[in-house]
């Protein structure tokens, strides 16, 4: 009983989902850094 297609599908879905989640977190982190920099600039201006 060979079912490589099912195994490959399950494996791909797991890793694609996990990488999308990690990518989303990293993007949010970059966004936060930009916000921190802009706040620092505002504080300097005051």
């Amino acid at each position: 009983m060979e079912n490589w297609g099912y195994l490959v599908a399950a494996y791909s879905i797991i890793w694609v989902a996990i990488f999308i989640y990690i990518f989303t977190l990293h993007r949010r982190q970059r966004q936060l850094r930009r916000e921190i920099d802009s706040l620092k600039e505002k504080l300097k201006g005051n």
Partner: protein, 230 residues
């Protein structure tokens, strides 16, 4: 900012360790472990499916503990940790359901059946989806945290139901092979390495998600302070 950098470094270290162990787990799953005789190669889904399920339970146990701690102390750090854990738990439960249905098709001939364990797992998924909706869309932050904590405590009751469904009811789902000695030495080793690798992945994601929530809250407070000053 310093805390953000420090967190990033520690998470990167943990992600590195997770990555190394994940590579080892992939080697064991696809090269080392022998193909199961009855189900063939599709049985290898087991080495992802079970670790994801165990870590989803762990994630919801963390939600349960943090929810109790939040209701006792009203400290938002417990709410942040609970919400971060619920989010990852929901991701893992989604993957458990998807990999389960993919495995069902060649094993049982159907994509889905209203088997007690599958149904209880789907209910678990809806409970934590509701948890995240309540915490995200409540009109007041403290109100959302309070309601979410109640769901986090009551919702956890479904976790033992999912775990014990195969013992309590007649089910198509395989019995707990690990405890019945149904796995060979190499299968058990592969499963254990995979469980440790996925647990490290869960911890890495939890630290990263929680630090993002904390920093977002800090920035929000700082912005409010600056607006009030101007």
């Amino acid at each position: 900012m310093q805390a953000l950098k420090q967190n990033t470094r520690s998470v990167n270290g943990l992600l590195g360790l997770t990555f190394a162990l994940m590579i080892a787990a992939q080697f064991l799953i696809f090269v080392y472990v022998p193909t199961e005789r009855t189900m063939g190669v599709v049985q290898r889904i087991f080495y992802f499916h079970v670790p994801l399920a165990w870590n989803a339970f762990l994630a919801f146990a963390i939600v349960f503990v943090c929810s109790i701690l939040y209701l006792r102390s009203r400290d938002m750090k417990w709410d942040r940790l609970a919400r971060s854990s619920a989010e990852i738990g929901l991701l893992f439960t989604t993957l458990v359901l998807i990999t389960g249905t993919i495995w069902d098709k060649p094993a049982w001939g159907v994509w889905w059946t209203w088997d007690p364990r599958l149904t209880a797992t789907l209910i678990l998924w809806f409970i934590y989806l509701a948890y995240l909706f309540v915490s995200a869309y409540a009109t007041e932050e403290s109100q959302g945290a309070r309601y979410a904590a109640v769901i986090g405590i009551i919702g956890f009751l479904d976790v033992p139901i999912v775990a014990l469904a195969i013992v309590l009811w007649q089910t198509q789902h395989p019995s707990p092979l690990i405890f019945e000695g149904g796995l060979t030495g190499s299968m058990l080793l592969t499963l254990m390495v995979s469980i440790v690798a996925f647990t490290l992945l869960y911890l890495s994601l939890l630290i990263l998600r929680n630090s993002l929530r904390r920093d977002t809250d800090e920035i929000k407070k700082l912005k409010q302070y600056m607006d009030e000053r101007n």
